[in-house]
């Protein structure tokens, strides 16, 4: 029997390079067992600081970082509900209420439905430093899978402390090895530290890539004279990713990984972008499909 912490579940080679994704956003986690002997599933809590190098144009934790933490909490929550099987995230539907955060952010997740093939979890995020102001509500679906040879046993209730601050902070683009650029295509290099225990690109890396790519696509189109900005664009505005839907379709294993964007239109300072993520080294196959509402801020 192997006993592991949630961080180990994300990265079983503790101390190795894979731990870096879990540590980058410094997420603290704790299990909330059901009370009174009820036959329910545990709930889960989490807390993430909002470090300055992770703030986006909206003033708070960028959407990609937020969804990385949500994926971690929702993943452990769903996984524990199906043990000894395990899960893989198949979709996230995120509604972002506030882009500006004082921090830390507090997360709470619960199982909404556990079926034979899938688990649906609901997660709420509040700004603990701002009177628990609502930050986001997320519904996440995970597929139940056979963990293969990987035995996942947990010390219950599960708890893991907040990792310490990084003395040499990197921006999300730097950390996730996203190429600089602008326009409809954004590329990520699939470094080993960005892989999960199954060797595939971490869901948080996908969320961050989608975030960066969608904002670049809108900025690029506004700068493109062929389309122009119907509002005249006399004053350039900053952009931040808001409401986001991600369908994790297939694993990205080879890389590089490209996010190809199409700006679909919008209203009220909200522009919808379709993002198709391809694993270029795996016959260019489509691995993720997302939509992002990019907000003027």
């Amino acid at each position: 029997m192997t006993e592991v912490s949630p961080d180990d579940a994300v990265a079983p080679d503790a101390g190795g390079p894979r731990r870096l994704v879990a540590e980058y956003f410094r997420l603290q986690q704790w299990e909330i067992p059901p009370t009174g002997g009820q036959e329910r599933f545990s709930e889960f809590g989490g807390r993430a600081p909002v470090d300055d190098h992770q703030r986006g144009a909206g003033g708070g934790l960028r959407m990609g970082g937020l969804l990385t933490s949500v994926d971690s909490i929702g993943g452990i929550l769903a996984g524990l509900s199906v043990q000894p099987d395990w899960i893989v995230t198949t979709s996230m539907m995120a509604t972002i209420a506030h882009l500006s955060h004082r921090g830390p952010l507090r997360l709470h997740g619960r199982v909404l439905r556990r079926g034979r093939n899938a688990v649906v979890t609901g997660l709420d995020v509040v700004d603990e430093g701002n009177d628990d102001l609502a930050v986001a509500a997320v519904t996440m679906t995970s597929a139940v899978l056979d963990p293969g040879g990987m035995s996942l046993e947990f010390v219950r209730p599960v708890r893991s402390p907040m990792p310490p601050p990084n003395p040499d902070p990197q921006t999300p683009e730097e950390f996730f090895d996203i190429e600089p650029g602008e326009g409809p295509m954004t590329r990520l290099h699939l470094a080993d530290r960005l892989r999960n225990p199954w060797g595939i690109l971490h869901g948080g890396a996908v969320a961050t890539l989608v975030d960066v790519a969608a904002c670049r696509a809108v900025a690029g189109e506004r700068a493109d004279g062929a389309h122009g900005d119907p509002r005249g664009n006399e004053h350039a505005v900053a952009l931040a990713a808001g409401d986001t839907v991600i369908h994790y379709l297939r694993p990205a294993r080879v890389g590089p990984v490209e996010a190809r964007c199409r700006v679909l239109g919008g209203r009220g300072g909200r522009t919808l972008v379709r993002v198709a993520v391809h694993d270029v080294g795996a016959a260019d196959r489509l691995v993720d499909l997302a939509s992002v509402a990019v907000l003027d801020v």
């Binding site: 509604t95 209420a97 519904t139 679906t141 119907p230 839907v245 379709l249 909200r270 489509l286 509402a293």
Partner: protein, 295 residues
Amino acid sequence: MSIGYPPALHFLSDLGIEAQVGPGSDATARIRVTPHVTATDGGVRAGVLATLVDVVGGAVAARVLRPDWMATADLTLEVVRPAAGPFVEARATVVRRGRTTLVIEAGVFNVLDEGSDVTVGVEGLRPVGWATMTFAVLPGQSPTSNLEVPGELPDRWAFVGDGLDRPVVEALSISVVDAAEGRISMPVQDYLFNSFGAVQGGVMALLGEVAGAEVLGEAVGPGGNFVATDLRVAYLALGRVGPIVSRSRVLAAQDGGPHRSAVVELFDAGAGDRLTTVINVGAMPAAAAAMGSGW
């Protein structure tokens, strides 16, 4: 051509949905835009568009999965400008077919009677909305389905009814119990059933739309007139008994813009208050929504 569902006296029939399935993994479905299905921004209500994309997605899924069947597990829709017609068409295609799920995306377009896109400058080249759906694959002989899956599905069909003679919210007998709390109620009737004998998924999305717009409008003051622009729907259980009732909570305004969000939960009050559906609803004031452009 008829496929045996829905009956003539049915919400989908009254919408007059016409559908066509392509030879591959794609399909189209359209409805005529009438005042009975539009919101105050002049475009088709998000909940009605959700119904349309659910139908077109189901058409693709039925073709691709046969002899198996399917149930909608989640649906997302974002409307980027008013879907004002004269017809609105949803065009769906398969994104991924797995062993237990099927993922489909659909664009929504304003079209003319003969089927060509309505074009207004460069914006005519873009959709008025975009949707995704995940369907759970059900074995054809599943005991959870009372449907006899037809061996052959037609390439074209139309749901033909008398048409709506009043606004869709009235036709579905949706009543607002407490706007400030986003509490609404709707009786369950055969008129709304899907192939499982439960309330059709698009109707559940419409309930979420109504409750969300109500609670968000009330949050800004009496008479606040909000139009839903985006829906993210998770289907957890079937609504069979009724009435279907809602509880809602306002999340907040997104910083600096007119868009606001709410979470609506739908319960089957007659089935022990079972949680059936969670819907995240985005909305904005009707005046802002009506000004939809390329941005």
